[in-house]
Amino acid sequence: MTEYHELIVVGGGPAGLAAACEAWEKGVRDILILERDKELGGILNQCIHNGFGLTYFKEELTGPEYAGRFVKMLYSTDVKVKTDTMVLNITPDKEIHAVNTFDGYLVLRAKSIILTMGCRERTRGAIGIPGDRPAGVLTAGAAQRYLNIEGYLVGKRVVILGSGDIGLIMARRMTLEGAKVLAVVELMPYSNGLNRNIVQCLEDFDIPLYLAHTITDIEGGDGRVSKVRVAQVDENRMPMPGTEMEFDCDTVLLSVGLIPENELSKNAGLELDRRTNGLVVYENMETSAEGIFACGNVVHVHDLVDFVTAESQAAGRSAAAYLAGNHAAGKADLEVKTAGHVTYTVPQKLRLANVEQSAKLFFRVNQVMPKAIVTVRSGEETLATFRREHMAPGEMATVTIPRVLLEKANGTITVTAEPAEEI
C-alpha cells in the first residue's frame, strides 16, 4: 500500500527540523519527517558542548538545547514524524522506500521531498593509516556518541589525529572524564577547527597540538592499540625521516573530515558536486530533480548549526512555493565556477527568476589568508569585489551578489579569492 504526502523530509536533524517547521509556517499542511534514530535532533543530541545558537537565538545553547527548541516548535504543528525509520531508497519519480519495526516495509509517495541526511565521518580506511588493525581506533564522533549518549569512555590514553572541531571537543571532553589526551596531530600546517576550540579545548588543558605532523604507524599486536608513531611532514605532506615520536596509548581518535551522506541521492539519480561531495543545488536549494530540495550537511559541511538552520528554512520556503505552484523551474541561467583559492560554492547554479534582491553564495578557501580579496567575474568582466579578513579553510565564507550585477553575467560567473597585502 502506498502512502501519499505533500512533503516528505528525509532526516530529523537540525536541517530536517528547520525545513519542516518553515514549510509548515508557509502553509504546507501534510508533512512527514522520516528519522532513522530513535529521537529527533540528529547529531545535536551528542554535541553536549555549548556554542550553538548565538546567531539564530542570540544566546549560547548546548546541542541538545538547540535541538530541543526546534523539536518543541515542531510539536506545536501537525507535522507527522516516524522515528526509528530507515529510508532504503528514493526513486527519481519521488517514491520513498523505508522500513521500521511498526509499519514494516513502507512505500511512500510525495509531491515534494527535502533531503537532509547530513554527513558522516571519514574513517581510517579513507585515509589509509599504516600499521596493525587493533581495537581502539575510532572516529571522534563515534567516541562522542559512546561517551555522551551511552556513557562509556572509550579509552584512557588517547592520541587524536586531525584537528577538526569534533576532535578538539573530544580532547576536552575525554580529559574532563579522566582520560589523558597525549597529543592532537594535524597533517596541515593549520587547524581546521575553530580558534575558540583550540583555546578552550587544548590550551586550557595543556594538550599539545602538532601541526604538519601525521600518524605513520599504529601498533597493537595484542588486539588493542598500544603505541602510535608520529612524524613531521614536509610541504608535500610526506613524513620526514628522523622526526618520529612515539606515544604509548590505548586509543586513536580520528577527526579527519566529514563527507555528505548521499547514497540515497545517488539512487535517485541526483547530480552531485565532486568538490563538496554533496548535492548540486540551485539558488532555492532545489537539486537537479524538480521538487526535490536539499539542505544542511548533505549539501556541504557547515561549521555552525545556525547556518544550517538558515539554509534549511530557505529549502522549506522553496518546497512550499513549489507545492503552491509558485516556482520557476528549468535550466540555470548561470553556472557558478571557482578559481584561485576558492574550493567550492553553494549554490552551484542560479536561476535569476528565483533570485529576488540578491543571491548569497557560500564558499570555502584552501589556505589561510589574513587578508583577502574575493572577486566575482563573468568572463573577463569583474562584477564585484569584496575585501575579507581572516579567511581560513575551516571557516565558511559568503558573498552576497545583487541581482542587477548577475543580470550582466553571461552563462557563468567565477568566484576567486586571492591573498591581499594591504587593505
Binding site: T62, E65, N148, E177, R196
Partner: protein, 115 residues
Amino acid sequence: MAQKNMICITCPRGCHLSVDTQTGAVTGNSCEKGAEYGKNELFHPMRVLTTTVRLEGQTGSRLPVKTAGPIPKELLFKAMEEANSRIVHSPVHTGDVILENIAGSGVALVACKEM
C-alpha cells in the same frame, strides 16, 4: 603598556583580542561580551562546563547538563567529580536544577534536555 593577545571564545567568531595587562582594557572585540571576556580571561578565567549525569528510568542513560553560567576555570575538575556522583531520575525538564552551587562556585548545574 604591556598587551596580552588572546582569542575570544565567547562565540565561534573567535575575535583576536588585545588586552591591556594593567587596566584590562580590550581592543579588537566585536561586541560587549568580548570586552568582558578579555578582562575576565586576564584576571580570572571562567568557563561554562558541559557534561552528562547518570539518568535512571529511561532508555538513554545520560542526561546532558551544563553550568548555568561560567565557573572559575580551576574548579572544572572538582565540578566534574560532583557531577559524576549525581544520579537523577526521569522525568527531567530542560532548565531543571541538578546540583545547586556546584564545586562551591555559586552556580547551578542544570539539565539541557527533556528526558
